[in-house]
């Protein structure tokens, strides 16, 4: 059985999709928060490259703007903001995940299989060249969700949340070559504002609790 040779840009896009999946697994198992933010920035960079390639391939000009937006927001500004927060708050390690690292990764593999199954009907209907990557986008979203669930530190949960947004963006790109520009701008604005709000929030939390460990957030219960 020989493999049909794909054009080089599709090969690169497939490779980028696979690397995105790899990065989300790397984030799942990462204990150092600084490394986590760097992986997020790398994810954003890969997304930017993929958008540029797709823009070149399909000729959609608004994808160029999209790529520039991704670059500015997800690769440069947000990681810078998060790094600044990490330095000022002094949170560097997140060593107590809910499940041990090996177990989490095995659950991650199961999640990926589920995501691929979920995305099959959508891929079958899509008409874009990157339709096979929809499954990877859904997998990235679900693994980011898993990252959020299994973490103790607030900062890691936020990174998981942003990774979920990355997955959504990639999904939109694979299925429909991106959303209309106004929507993408709106989403980017929302993410930006959310991060700014979070920055303020983290300081309030630290002021009150002297730590960003989420163990402090288990006091409000049903029978209060």
């Amino acid at each position: 059985m020989t493999m049909h040779p794909l054009s080089w840009d599709l090969q690169v896009l497939n490779m980028l999709a696979a690397l995105l999946l790899l990065l989300s697994f790397a984030m799942l198992s990462q204990r150092r928060i600084v490394a986590l933010v760097d992986l997020l920035a790398l994810q954003g960079a890969l997304l930017c490259i993929a958008t540029l390639l797709l823009a070149w391939r399909t000729g959609n000009n608004h994808l160029y703007i999209s790529a520039a937006l991704t670059l500015g927001l997800k690769v440069i500004f947000l990681p810078w903001l998060l790094h600044r927060l990490i330095r000022r708050l002094g949170v560097y390690w997140d060593t107590e995940p809910l499940l041990n690292i090996t177990g989490t990764m095995l659950v991650g593999v199961l999640v990926v299989i589920f995501a691929f199954g979920l995305a099959q009907p959508i891929s079958a209907l899509a008409s874009t060249a990157t339709r096979n990557s929809i499954g990877i986008a859904v997998a990235v979203i679900l693994i980011a969700f898993l990252t959020m669930i299994t973490r103790r530190k607030a900062m890691s949960q936020v990174v998981g949340f942003l990774s979920m947004e990355n997955g959504l963006f990639f999904g939109a790109m694979s299925a429909t070559y991106g959303m209309p520009m106004v929507v993408e701008l709106g989403v980017a604005l929302d993410v930006l504002v959310a991060m700014l709000v979070l920055g303020v929030f983290f300081f309030q939390i630290r002021e009150q609790f002297d730590s960003l460990d989420l163990k402090n957030f288990e006091s409000l219960r049903e029978d209060q």
Partner: protein, 315 residues
């Protein structure tokens, strides 16, 4: 299957036997250079093996027949494995008898006998090493098998020589699945061959030994065979890697010119691979033993990811 093919097969085995210690010597040389030390000669492992053959074997009183048998079994398994792996040619008569899964079985046989023999004499360090070796093997084997599955899916066969032939016939393409499995395979290679970051081959601290602990009780010709088998194991793994991931240069037909060319190409590949291995070893630190399962779980994960990506993207 004519006489030429059988000759090629025999040539492959002899080449493996001869080249394995040289590969080990080369890796040691590169490591020494990277660490700014002066290196022993590249033929030093030969001298070591030869010296050991001249010595008298000293065996413990309570050693069973298994203890005496194990070196031969292990060595034999490694030689058979070398026969199955296409190092210089892809038309090997033995292919009909053994495919890649049988190969994994041969490697497992070697491991089992090694571990049993270490436990045979009843020393603490032998048992310690045996347990660690089995743990590493238990985790590394699934990863290796998944790597083979992915490659078999790509080529619709599990026979290594045919896989190599089909992969070398295709033009170069970026295959994410093969990239992931390559990473997984490298990690398995490091683990199974007792390299840093899993085990330090040059250590003399028994508490941190894994592979070395298994050989503590052996001496003379038995030790020589065991060491040669270890070198052969590294050579075999390297050749599996080449056959699957860098198959170009293998002789696929009867021509003697092709054969000579493939020997030369193999030497170049081994040189580069040995240097790369030395580089990885120098740049990594040895992991604590309880972290080894995490390392191997990552290898397994990479392999499974490669499988899933292959199934999803078809690439």
């Amino acid at each position: 299957m004519n006489a030429f093919d059988w000759t090629v097969q025999l040539l492959g085995i002899l080449l493996a036997l001869g080249a394995a210690p040289v590969l080990l010597g080369w890796v040691n040389k590169c490591r020494a250079w990277l660490q700014n030390k002066s290196a022993p000669s590249i033929l030093q492992p030969y001298r070591g093996i030869r010296k050991l053959f001249y010595k008298d074997a000293v065996i413990a009183q309570n050693a069973s027949r298994l203890f005496r048998l194990a070196p031969y079994v292990v060595f034999g398994a490694m030689v058979t494995a070398a026969a199955v792996i296409p190092s210089v040619a892809t038309r090997l008569p033995i292919t009909r008898a053994a495919d890649a899964i049988a190969l994994v079985g041969l490697l497992a046989t070697a491991r089992v006998f090694l571990s049993l023999a270490a436990m045979d004499v009843g020393t603490a360090f032998g048992t310690l090493g045996a347990r660690r070796e089995m743990m590493i093997g238990f985790l590394a084997e699934p990863a290796l098998l998944v790597v083979i599955f992915v490659v078999s899916l790509t080529c619709a066969t599990t026979a290594l020589p045919i896989i190599a032939e089909r992969l070398s016939a295709q033009s170069f393409a970026l295959n994410p699945s093969l990239a992931f499995t390559a990473i997984a395979f490298t990690m398995v290679l490091l683990a199974e061959n007792a390299r840093i970051p899993i085990d330090n081959p040059a250590t003399h601290l028994e508490l941190t030994m894994i592979h070395e602990a298994l050989l503590l009780e052996y001496s003379a010709r038995h030790l020589a065979l065991m060491e040669w088998a270890a070198a052969l194991k590294l050579f075999n793994y390297a050749c599996i890697g080449f056959a699957v991931f860098i198959p170009w240069g293998l002789a696929t037909s009867d021509a003697p010119m092709g054969l000579a060319l493939s020997v030369v190409v193999l030497c170049i590949k081994l040189t580069l691979a040995g240097a790369a291995l030395a580089l990885i070893e120098t740049l990594s630190a040895k992991l604590r033993v309880f972290r080894a399962p995490e390392f191997l779980a990552s290898a397994f994960l990479f392999a499974v990811l490669g499988l899933l990506v292959r199934l999803l993207l078809g690439a």
